[in-house]
Amino acid sequence: MSDTNVQRRQFLKTSVGAAAVAIAPGMLLFDMAHGKSDPVSSKVRWGMLIDTANCADGCNDCVTACNKENGLSGGLSPTDSQWMRKVELKDMRSGRTLALPMMCQHCEEPPCVDVCPTGASFKRADGIVLVDKHLCIGCRYCMMACPYKARSFVHEPLHDQKPDVPRGRGTVESCTMCVHRVDKGQQPACAEACPNKSILFGNLNDPESEISKKIRTVQSTQIRADLGLNTGIRYQGI
């Protein structure tokens, strides 16, 4: 056998090996690529702009979608969890009425996070306020501290939770801004479900995002802005 032949074989071997080394991690990643592998960063701040003028009277689609997505029973007793609720408002002086969906406002300075003894209440780098239920001891101090009544306590043992939305007895929970969907690049369920598209979801830190552009041009309000919490949820038309 000639020298060139041996060299050719050697070359083939090494190049195949090199290719395998180059491709393997990619293959592995491809295999696992159902979400993203980078930690969330503070370059993003997720938020919503809710147009109350378009929020139809009697429509409850966002709440229903939220319950379905997160596996909530939809029960309305005082011990049932309600991550999202429709609030009917009537101005006491003018008599003007309006309705809006109310949930965790995903504050920049969340009181629930400040008071939580174990650090179970926390704010993700991208501004989403969550409860780490592995750390929650169920003291309910966060429910006392929340200015928006956004949190619910799970009063009963639960069964058949959604695989993406673990929830359990004795811990506190609230709107997660559908973090499991957001991490996959989707919108929160309520925003997707609104028939009038009055819930606009997006990145408040990106000046070019639709939500940022709209906030620059229309008048929007934060609920209890006097508390200085800088909420991630803004409302139009209050």
Binding site: H34, P39, L158, K162, P166
Partner: protein, 123 residues
């Protein structure tokens, strides 16, 4: 007295059986099974550590594609009969945890069902 000796002898036997890992080990329904993300013996010893690490990364940093996710475990190891890793004496998680007498604190909150099966049911 005789009874006491018998009991002691039985205890010793249990202890030695434990060392050889054969006596009374539960026969588990491993579901689909197949190639695990690590060596099975390594997983038996360390699954909780990697699960905890992954869980903290997922909850706090939004990293959702790690290979040690609980959902991945369940996807392969849920029984093909009832799509669950708990509930029966030979269920993948419960069977072993019962044998070792270690409480599982996962499934009070987490679904014990194979999620692909749940999706199929919904559609």
């Amino acid at each position: 007295m005789l009874k006491l000796f018998a009991l002691l002898a039985a205890l010793c036997m249990c202890a030695s059986a434990d060392a050889t890992e054969s006596y009374g080990m539960p026969k588990l329904d491993i579901g689909k099974g197949g190639q695990c993300v690590e060596e099975p013996q390594w997983m038996r010893k360390n699954h909780m550590k990697v699960l905890f690490q992954q869980r903290d990364e997922t909850v706090h940093q939004g990293i959702r594609d790690g290979k040690y996710s609980l959902k991945n475990c369940i996807e392969c190891h849920a029984s093909l009969r009832d799509n669950s890793v708990i509930g029966r004496a030979d269920s993948f998680c419960e069977g072993c945890h019962r044998y070792e007498a270690v409480k599982i604190d996962c499934f009070e909150c987490h679904s014990s069902k194979r999620s692909s099966a749940l999706v199929q049911k919904e559609h």
